[in-house]
């Protein structure tokens, strides 16, 4: 299900996020954050992989990279900037550890060869539609929200909180993040998810 490249990216991102969250206060805290972040990312990715399987496609997890810096057609960087690896460190440093940036991973969708055969009828097509890509991206956010609630109910508030943070940052509609895919796939679904994530985040910040 996960290839070596994807797994190594997840491990590296988990370590970076755990470092920024724990701020290397103690080894125990770092290891606890590492395990929690790793689980949160796995929940998100497996949900997306399952939904992509049902939509006759497969996804590949990649590091979030910035290629454009402007609106003009030639405003491209010669080499993509690995924003997913550097943004958490930069944001944590600029805000003195007050904000953790957690949107680091993106995915690319490839339709399977039998997609055309299965998507028969009036609109027979083999390419992935924006709507289906948005549905795959939203599955990860849904999974994080559900596991956040479960984590809170069974007594793991930190796991619940990190699930909500991860969902919140991935819902931001910029770059190639999940939020952008959902936003342009189905803006109503994006609004639904944004409302759920924001209410959860507000609850986590105010009451928990």
């Amino acid at each position: 299900m996960l290839n070596i490249k994807e797994f190594s990216i997840i491990i590296v991102i988990s370590i970076i996020l755990a470092l920024t969250i724990s701020l290397i206060e103690s080894l125990e805290l770092f290891l606890y954050a590492l395990l929690t972040i790793f689980l949160v990312i796995l929940v998100n990715i497996f949900a997306k992989k399952i939904i992509s399987f049902y939509l006759e496609s497969e996804i590949e997890i990649k590091l979030w990279e910035l290629k454009r810096y402007g609106f003009r057609t030639h405003d491209y960087l010669k080499k993509p900037f690995p924003a997913g690896a550097f943004f958490p460190i930069i944001i944590t440093a600029l805000t003195f550890g007050y904000v953790y940036w957690m949107a680091c991973l993106v995915f690319e969708t490839k339709p399977k060869v039998y997609r055309t055969a299965k998507r028969w009828g009036l609109y027979s097509f083999s390419e992935m539609t924006e709507r289906h890509i948005g549905a795959i991206a939203s599955a990860g956010i849904f999974a994080n929200l559900i596991f956040g609630v479960i984590g809170y109910l069974i007594g793991f508030p930190e796991f619940a909180r990190l699930n909500l943070y991860y969902a919140f940052f991935n819902m931001i509609p910029i770059g190639n993040l999940d939020g952008n895919k959902i936003f342009f796939g189905n803006i109503v679904l994006w609004s639904f998810l944004a409302i759920l994530v924001l209410i959860g985040l507000g609850y986590a910040l105010l009451l928990v």
């Binding site: 109503v188 609004s191 639904f192 507000g202 910040l205």
Partner: protein, 72 residues
């Protein structure tokens, strides 16, 4: 051919969520006992929950506009 309507596109569901977001937004954005004496303390008037409330109000505006614009 009648297109199948998904759960998230039903007018009643969208309107309900819009109202829920509006109420939650008002709850989060409300000033918590802020008076003129705020300048004497170092506390910021705009906190993170206020921003969350503002974002909720924007989302509720999107959903309510969608619900009103739909004919069926």
């Amino acid at each position: 051919m009648v297109k199948k309507q998904s759960f998230f596109e039903k007018k009643s569901v969208v309107a309900t969520f819009g109202v829920l977001a509006l109420l939650s937004g008002i709850f989060f954005v409300r000033p918590k006992g802020v008076t003129g004496n705020i300048i004497l303390s170092s506390r910021s008037v705009v906190d993170l929950t206020s921003i969350i409330g503002l974002l909720l109000l924007i989302c509720s505006a999107i959903l309510l506009a969608y619900a009103i614009a739909r004919t069926k």
